[in-house]
Amino acid sequence: MRNNFKILYRKEVQSFFNSPVAYITLVVFLLINAWFFTSTFFLTNESDLRTLFTVAPIVFIFFIPAITMGLIAKEKNTGTLEFITTLPFSDGEIVIAKFLAALTLVATALLFTTVHFFTLLIVGNNIDMGALISGYLGLLLVGAAYTAIGTFASSVTDNQITAFIISFSIIFVLFILDKILVFVPGFLSSFLQYLSIDYHLSNISRGVIDSRNLVYLGSIILFFLLMSIRILEMRKWR
């Protein structure tokens, strides 16, 4: 079982780094983050990574759909889905290996942003290490949630552009929810706030790791991964 994951995961990661798309998106992601971070870092004169933790999730809204759009849609389009699903892999193994491979790319991107973290270590003082670590944890968790949504979007279509638009839309709605709270009636607002990704992320980035936030992000990941597996299985019955 575990071996199957390893085989599929290796193939997926390989195919990411075989294509120029991974490098291009990675470079763009890092450039945007670096620009926002360093352009204000020395002006505000604060020893934290708050700019990074605010900007990265916004860049994720574009970055992650771009990474995940091909995961399953491309295999559907080229017909290799038939090849891989008739090998002795379960649909669950295929989806989760793809999810983990895409998450690896997201984590790699985050790893490169630690260059800002080290800059801070060198020039900053009174650094709140706990907040930095939980901030990174938050980014990784949100990245995982977006990746799960992207995997789902990629499973519903055989067109990569459509997959991009679907995952972008879902992520955008979840992101914007707590910014439109003033427009909705009061009884809905706490509910919508709970559904908003940014609300949970901001808690975690502040250094407050609440089980509510973890449960929320965990459920998003689980829900969209299960949906992707179901949709992949549905091909059998269409």
């Binding site: 085989i7 195919s15 290799t80 038939e82």
Partner: protein, 316 residues
């Protein structure tokens, strides 16, 4: 042994496969023949576990595709139609991935890789990217991935489509060779292909089996009959049928009339010969025989007959 039992597969309202049953014995090469869209590929996709049957089931040994798909997939080597490959991968990496997926360990992979390269003629392209390969080489890579784990069952969906005549002969030879030790199902819409490789063939049309037997059986089934084409002037069918009544087993299979000339096709077993009776009957009734010709059936006629007949009956 593979047994397909009462298999039905619908895509929404489209009935792709309607109640098909057949068996494939171990070590047999079965040719799956039919025009495009007859349901060949759908049947193969159910056997390989890509699709689930709407009703019915497929049994491989004691397992069935609904409950034991994973175990069955392990026994099968499958070359899908259109031969989908990962074009961004190197041939070596691709075959290594398939070998790992097929639970072949490192040392065995090395020896198998050598054999497969030899068998499929992949020497010299092993370290090339698949997207640099010609269609013929892609097809060989597809075949190589299907046999790398030395499967008991080999399912090949249109394995020679898009190849040039030399490559076709080569691949057919390869399939014939592999079939000595394996159970092979090969699908094609080209009769010669099945004739050249298969021990037995199933002709499928509009989702139903039109014929099932060895090539010799199919030939004798239909060769046992002779078709006689007649063109008669001043004749009528009622009177013509009186000729037949003299001979048991003569059938008037088709007839038409135009400008006083009747065209009729008779079918009868080879043991009979009604021509003399027809001639005397014609003389007695003062018919003019414009044409009377016997027609020998070939396998191609059988194929065309079975598949075209199906079309017209289904159209009703």
């Amino acid at each position: 042994m593979i047994e397909v039992r009462k298999l039905v597969k619908n895509y929404g309202d489209v009935k792709a496969v309607r109640d098909i049953s057949f068996k494939v014995q171990n070590g047999e090469i079965l040719g799956f023949l039919g025009p495009n869209g007859a349901g060949k590929t759908t049947t193969l996709k159910v056997i390989t576990g890509y699709l689930s049957p709407t009703s019915g089931n497929v049994f491989v040994d004691d397992m069935n595709v609904i409950e034991d798909s994973m175990e069955i997939r392990k026994m099968i080597g499958y070359l899908p139609e259109m031969n989908p490959l990962y074009h961004d991968m190197e041939v070596y990496d691709f075959l290594e991935f398939v070998a790992h997926a097929r639970e072949i360990d490192k040392s065995r992979f090395k020896s198998r890789l050598g054999e497969v390269i030899e068998l499929c003629g992949l020497k010299g392209v092993v370290h090339k990217n698949i997207n640099e390969l010609s269609k013929g080489y892609c097809q060989r890579v597809g075949l190589a991935q299907a046999i790398i784990h030395d499967p008991k069952i080999l399912i090949l969906d249109e394995p020679t489509s898009g190849l040039d005549p030399n490559q076709i002969v080569e691949i057919r030879g390869l399939i014939k060779n592999l079939g000595k030790a394996k159970t092979v199902i090969i699908s094609s819409h080209i009769l010669q292909e099945i004739q050249a490789t298969a021990d037995r063939m199933i002709i499928i049309n509009r989702g139903e089996i039109a014929a099932n037997g060895t090539i010799d059986e199919l030939m004798s089934d239909f060769k046992g009959k002779t078709r006689l084409k007649l063109e008669l002037k001043n004749a009528d069918t009622e009177s013509l049928k009186k000729v037949q009544s003299f001979n048991d087993g003569v059938l008037l299979s088709e007839y038409s009339e135009k400008d006083g000339v009747m065209t009729a096709v008779l079918e009868y077993p080879n043991s009979l010969d009604p021509r003399q009776d027809i001639f005397t009957h014609a003389v007695k009734n003062k018919w003019v025989i414009l044409e009377m010709s016997r027609h020998k059936t070939s396998l191609e006629d059988i194929f065309r007959n079975l598949t075209i007949e199906g079309e017209t009956t289904n159209a009703k």
